[in-house]
Amino acid sequence: MPADIAGTAAAVPVSTRAGAERAMRSSSGIGFDDVSVAYNGVVVLDSLTLAVNPGEIVALIGPSGSGKTTALRAVAGFVRPSRGRITIGTRDVTNVAPHARNIGMVVQNYALFPHMRAEENVAFGLRARGAGADVIRERVPECLRLVGMANYAKRYPRELSGGQQQRVAIARALAIRPQVLLLDEPLSALDAQIRRSMLDELAKLHRELPSLTVLYVTHDQTEALTLADHIGIMRDGKLVAFGDAQSLYRYPPNRFSAEFLGRANLLPVQALAGAGAGMARVRFGDGALLARNHHGLPDGGHCLLCVRPHDVSLGAPGEGANALSATVRSVQWQGDMQNVELDVAGHVLRLSCPPMHEPPPPGAALTVHFSATQATLVPETMTRG
């Protein structure tokens, strides 16, 4: 663990955790009710309806321009919806000024006030709300301790590393005891190693503050899968999938979700008939395969069979597994993983596995298999999950 992020939530004294937790008891959920946002007539957020339950982390992910940041900014009050309603708890905040919404916000580039020390940054929101000196004296060290920055209270932002600055930004957001915490790509500006550590720290922080409601915007699927209770996938201003992280990953409701959340093999198949227990038999090329039909796709329809690369294995299948004849196109070694690209009946199938002692050479003919329960059918047309 890098020195600058060593010892954070795990080292938080019980009294601090209890104090902070008390602070968050008033947490509320967030509601988007048919919210649209348009800039100069161009719709950037299109009829978003979504509920973030109190104490939950919901991650909005999607490519650039998908509308995820706009959704977060609408909650913060920095963009005004052209239609719809936004609620925090039971309060309609659609037309409430940002300073009156009681939200904490952490942004990608930290946005610490450069002329203020870390402790002054954390105290800023409290002073803005007219908190007394005794409250500030108590809460600023408490929040800095919560993020492991108690020893850096007197430092200016320029004297802190990226990870440390981000922690001060989190402490600043928590100090006002917000109803909800908005995180806008908070780890994007950090290098890979610090990002991984900060991700763990955020997960720990939420364990310390389980009733804190968090809306987390990111383009990084790993962050979303690690932290979020529920994930919303956005594309072109629309929410194209929403569900708990496991379900979305296992049973993506559409092609875009399957490809955006993790790597996916998508093979064009035709559903033949139900096979009981939520399974379906499908035709792929000249053969038949078995897959989960989680979305209840009708018999005879064309759809996609989704199987994750790490669920595909080399060699002869065991009982009940799907088997395919394949030709090796290329093999890539990536340290702790080996990626094999295969040709299966003219379609690309990717396989990832621990490094092999003797990987198959390009052009080699072999058999691959995957469990029927690890394969799921995905509709070809876009449907909201």
């Binding site: 913060a76 920095f78 940002p98 300073h99 009156a100 450069p114 800023f124 929101g125 803005a128």
Partner: protein
Amino acid sequence: MAELALGAPYAAQPRTGSFWIAPPLLILAALFFFPLWLILRQALAGDGDVLSLAKFAGVMASGEFRHALVNTLVIALSATAGCLVLGFVLSVLIAFTPFPGSEVLARMIDTFIALPTFLVALAFTFIYGSAGMLNESLMAILHVDLPPVDFLYSQWGVILSEMTVYTPFVMRPLLAAFSLIEPAQIEVASSLGARPLRIVQRIILPAALPALVAGGSLCLLLTVNEFGIVLFIGAKDVITLPLLIYDKAIQQFDYTTACVIAVVNVALSIALYSLYRFVVAYFGGRRAGLV
């Protein structure tokens, strides 16, 4: 061999450098230092050959000089203070409350800087002068014979004109400094519960302070030396140092007194310019968007 090969270019470099420094130094000496020396010599020796501070003492003891010095400082300080307040407010409005045409307005500031200073004085004469639009309208409405608004031909007229001319000199560095403030800082401050006025006080003003101080120093430097506006308005009893120099040299042909006052004026300008450079260096001109 390697040392010799590396050493050769270094040996040749200073000779070339010295040669190319000479022409600009000569031009500078001819156009600036020599005339300055002539003024200083005239101030110290008058029409004779003996250098003495007697003339300086005489001029500085005169009420006329002291009156002009006080006028110069009062007008310069007042106009600078006005420029700072007006420039800050206008810059905040342009930078942080975008309205249709705000970008065009920001660009126009540069154009404003390029205009001659007397133009504003001329425009003010048309608007606020005794026979200007404002007074004519008021006289017609109020049925009075004398112009009710009579500030233009006073110190206030000069200060207002200088504020109008020099406010863009404050706004330009301020807008540059404002462009360096992360919008996210403003948004986060707002989300933390800060109202607009607090954001201006606690976030924007500290960030803009270097630009504000540097712009103010420049303004002070320029207003101390302002001549065109004061002359054009022709305010009664408003005699500043530059105007006094003009009066002594051109109207009274008293070149020695004019040179003494000019030396004082130059010293004042150099002191203010040093202050400006110090402020820019102290706050870091690059961070303040000044260089």
